[in-house]
Symmetry: C2
Subunit: 620 residues, 2 copies
């Protein structure tokens, strides 16, 4: 055996073992103890299976050509003694504790796969299984209990049954003449339904944002999204950001309960909407996955979030157990399981864990940054070896909340600002008369005004003489109002400034971008890398989709690099939530990230302030 | 090593390994894989421990003198490398997978033990632990979540926390300055209480009978019962026996829910009463154990019991998971765990499992019968090797419900009937004027009347001539009423028969005793034993306490044997319930019984009817 086995310790997950697959020729390295099925699946190699690797379909037959894999109790049922001696095993039971050479027979079934996340192929293997079973009826010589009868029919699953299932079990079994569909979540029996209902098997992926909540209904049989709906988080009246919401719980003892209910109302309305659109019963939804920041999850569960809001920023919990929909209050099947993404830190929550999963930050050798720009900005740096993360309190500038003419990205918002030949060009959402400035427009405006010379490197508007010289036409838009307040007018209405950028707005943006830039720069320092080592920047979240990459580089929000390497990754939290519903392998991956990703607290670093001040400047 | 190791397979529980303890010289045989701590505890040998074998107190130090025990991760913390090399280990982590010679140092703490069941000594080791912990407060450089902080302080427990605990965790920790008491059930954190509340640690053992319910409050710190209360099961209006209650659910769809609530009301009133008497809060009760027949448990949980009531007599479940008090509706600490005894069969329920545990039927080499006499009679036979059990439908005779002058064992009930020198002597409960006949009086009456010759072997009253000859005085009490109905008057009031035994009453008793005798005789047949092989009969339940052993032998209710070997075992179900609360080792023992005890269904045996007819006769 090679060195690799010597450095790997069986069953410990330490080190790596090597698997060589024939006839594909694929050669993969995985932690010892991983099953051959998982090792293949993680590397995009499909092995026959209809049960998704649960040990029940006995289709994932492989032949071990080199290396040792003990015979499992299921192998004995699946193979003849001769086959066992020839190395035949079930891939889902075969743990690779040493190097192996494995022959994978051609597929007789076509494994379903879905493309989700950022170009990730996920092999369909949900935690939820529906299995139609026809039971033999009890007799005096076969007095197995109802639940034993089901457990035996489900073969090798060690089924624990919810009390709610047991309550109606005798009645349902007998009304349905012992022909029922079992709904299983991992090893828990969450429902018994009369007849064959196996076709109706759904889950809902939820991106629980502070501002916007998105729900996607997934058909677990096909892996396809069948309906998507979004709405504003109904907790909004308690404040736009997490700090306001936490403050509300500190000032009013009722606020936690009210926000918990508002959060549930939001989720339940969305769930009802996606089910309506797909024309299915919400009781056919057997699982939900929720990606949200730590505060959103605490509020949703009714867990006091106060210590998150004040230094030293402590969560009650970062890894949540699985709860039933009934325990939480979600209006799906009462026994449905809820997967709550764990959090890396108080300000780098489950939405970012989902995002790291969806972007495959842990599976790429390149140096990559994932930045979720918002009031609280989360930054993840991966160099193919280590993954670091931190939070940067950017403030509300990007949501344009504290900007003189700021508005949300809605009709009338200036979202693009360009200057060509001393002339201003605006892109306005809805192609209407401009009425305000949204976050991406703000970043564009500061970038182009700095590039034109109307803003100096310190972020100050140049004086009128300089302005008139470098931009004879545009300088007319740079005016001084009462108390020396200087603004740059983006749009006039009746000769009055209608949409403009104030000196104070520029300062707001500088503070926000300095906070973020300090964040990623300190992470880079941590692993000894420079700006130009970064090979890709993924901008997450809705703001990331609107932001002009050139402007982002231009103001120094992201490291300097060709704009093609700055990628808008979209709603990665929602994509991650879908992935963990479609594949329990991916879910294990999400949990593994907790150990792999290091949370770096920057707020107590001695050099933070100094670096921050440097980053305030606009790049010359 | 000896042969025994060769027949034992490590970790499988198959075969036996031998442990020799010094200096006590005790020599015990246990299944492989059992910890040295458990092996000692099961055999009454005390090893130092304050945590009860949970791996946290590190007091159970032993030295392995011969044999191999791998070093556990806890051993590394408890011993120096030299001590480890010398064979020192923690007994609770040391699994005996081969023969061992073990030195047990003298006790530095005195282990608490309680005597419960039938002369059983139980070493106090409850599943519930209360641990007072003083946590360090979080800082920016120690941002562990609240739950991690607690799990770390609890050292090696892998603590899962209930959602209810998490909801208030941040608030309680901070109000209590991070000085709290953790309440742990096995590995679940069920409560966090401010300050040091470790002294208040209680559990309630419940014997949930069809007729009577008994609750015992136990102090888990000392192992002593602090209050006991009983009351009639409030489900009584739905029928006296399980069949009537099951029928009620079949006739009225509301009945199941109503009986569930009545069952809970009964338990909750009793719980309130024992807590009141002890002057404690019911929220200091963290665990309950409930021993009841299968129907009582189904009704209590709201699980449809209908299939138990009709052939082939099927339970929904026989091994229940652990539920919280909140899930079930018990008015103790909402996170308290509920241990529901498993059932051997539809008519040999958890009360009998508890009884087998309490009487140590599985730990005795003698041939013993445990008989719980009642409307439904349960029989357990152990020969030191095999344990068999069956149910015998005795009907209501023993509860005197279908007897002409039958009454419950209350004031005025004739409970003892004797004949000396042709004269009748009655024992009456409360020493009052007799008003009726209870079960034990019925058995006595039939026995003494048969012995006197007034009843023949077939159970028929002899004719008046024969009666006058053999019992000149008593024969006056044997009279014929209208329609040839013959009765024996036990008590006259104003020259009218006030309390009497009718020919029909005798038949009722014959049917009941025949059912029971057929039961134990077929069990004896099953293992090839005869009546006189039986060395002890344990009579369980309240009826068993009142029954005269001589009469029981005399009518053939139990095998013929010296009466000193017929032992009234008392409320063994309640005792078993106490044991599983006091010791999680005993609880494992109760679960093990499920595999060890074989349930024999007699109703479909071809020879049942024939044997039954033979048993109808009274022994000559």
């Amino acid at each position: 055996m090679s060195e690799e086995v010597e450095t790997a310790e069986a069953g410990t997950g330490i080190g790596r073992v090597r698997l060589e697959f024939t006839p594909s020729g694929q050669d993969v390295r995985v932690p010892p103890g991983v099953t051959v099925f998982d090792a293949a699946s993680w590397n995009g190699l499909a092995i026959d299976s209809t049960c998704g690797g649960h040990g029940t379909c006995k289709k994932c037959k492989i032949q071990i050509l080199e290396g040792e894999v003990p015979v499992s109790r299921l192998d004995i049922r699946a193979f003849s003694p001769e086959q066992l001696a020839d190395g035949w095993r079930l891939a889902c039971m075969a743990r690779a504790n040493g190097n192996l050479k494995v022959d994978v027979p051609p597929l007789s079934t076509r494994p379903k796969a879905a493309t989700v996340g950022v170009g990730r192929q996920v092999i369909l293997r949900p935690a939820i299984q529906k299995r139609y079973i026809e039971l033999t009826e009890p007799t005096l010589s076969d007095q197995r209990t109802d639940i034993e009868r089901i457990a035996d029919a489900l073969d090798d699953l060690n089924v624990n049954a919810d009390l709610a299932v047991l309550r109606t079990l005798p009645t349902i079994l007998r009304k349905a003449n012992f022909q029922v569909t079992a709904v299983i979540s991992d090893e828990d029996l969450i429902a018994i339904e009369p007849g064959d209902t196996s076709a109706a098997n759904y889950a809902v992926a939820i991106d629980l944002g502070t501002t916007t909540v998105v729900a996607t209904l997934l058909d677990l049989g096909t892996g396809t999204p069948v309906a998507v709906k979004s709405m504003l988080n109904k907790q909004q009246p308690f404040g736009a950001d997490v700090i306001s919401r936490i403050s509300a719980t500190m000032m009013d003892p009722e606020a936690l309960g009210i926000m918990q209910n508002l959060g549930l109302d939001t989720l339940n309305e969305l769930i009802a909407e996606v089910c309506d659109e797909a024309g299915i019963e919400s009781t056919s939804v057997y699982e939900t996955a929720i990606a949200g920041n730590a505060t959103m999850i605490h509020l949703l569960l009714g867990v006091d979030p106060e210590p998150i809001g004040v230094a030293p920023f402590i969560m009650a919990v970062k890894e949540w157990p699985e709860y039933t929909a009934e325990q939480i209050g979600l209006a799906v099947h009462p026994g449905a399981r809820t997967y709550l993404f764990p959090a890396f830190g108080a300000y780098v929550g489950g939405d970012i864990v989902a995002g790291v999963l969806a972007t495959g930050m842990d599976r790429d050798k390149r140096v990559r940054l994932l930045i979720d720009v918002g009031t609280n900005c989360e930054i993840v740096l991966s160099n193919g070896d280590q993954i670091l993360t931190t939070a940067a309190p950017a403030g509300p500038a990007f949501e344009a909340a504290s900007i003189a003419c700021g508005m949300r990205a809605a009709d009338g918002a200036v979202e693009v600002v360009q200057i060509k030949d001393d002339a201003l060009h605006l892109g306005v959402i809805g192609d209407t008369e401009p009425v305000g400035l949204c976050g991406s427009g703000l970043v564009d405006a500061v970038y182009v005004l700095h590039k034109s010379g109307l803003l100096d490197d310190s972020g100050r508007f140049v004086n009128d003489d300089v302005a008139a010289e470098i931009a004879p036409n545009l300088s007319k838009n740079l005016i001084t109002r009462e108390a020396g307040d200087r603004i740059f007018v983006l749009h006039w209405a009746d000769d009055e400034p209608a949409v403009f950028l104030s000196q104070r707005d520029v300062r707001e943006l500088q503070f926000a971008k300095a906070s973020i830039a300090t964040g990623w720069r300190m992470l880079l320092d941590e692993v000894g890398l420079k700006d130009d080592d970064v090979q890709q920047v993924l901008l997450a979240g809705s703001f990331g989709s609107y932001l002009s990459p050139a402007s982002a580089v231009g103001i120094g929000l992201v490291p300097k690099m060709p704009v093609v390497r700055i990628v808008s990754a979209g709603n990665v939290a929602g994509e991650g939530a879908k992935m963990v519903l479609l594949s329990s392998t991916e879910r294990s991956g999400a949990q593994t990230l907790l150990n792999e990703v290091e949370y770096v607290e920057l707020s107590d670093r001695a050099d933070f302030q100094e670096k921050f001040v440097v980053e305030l400047a606009l790049p010359s």
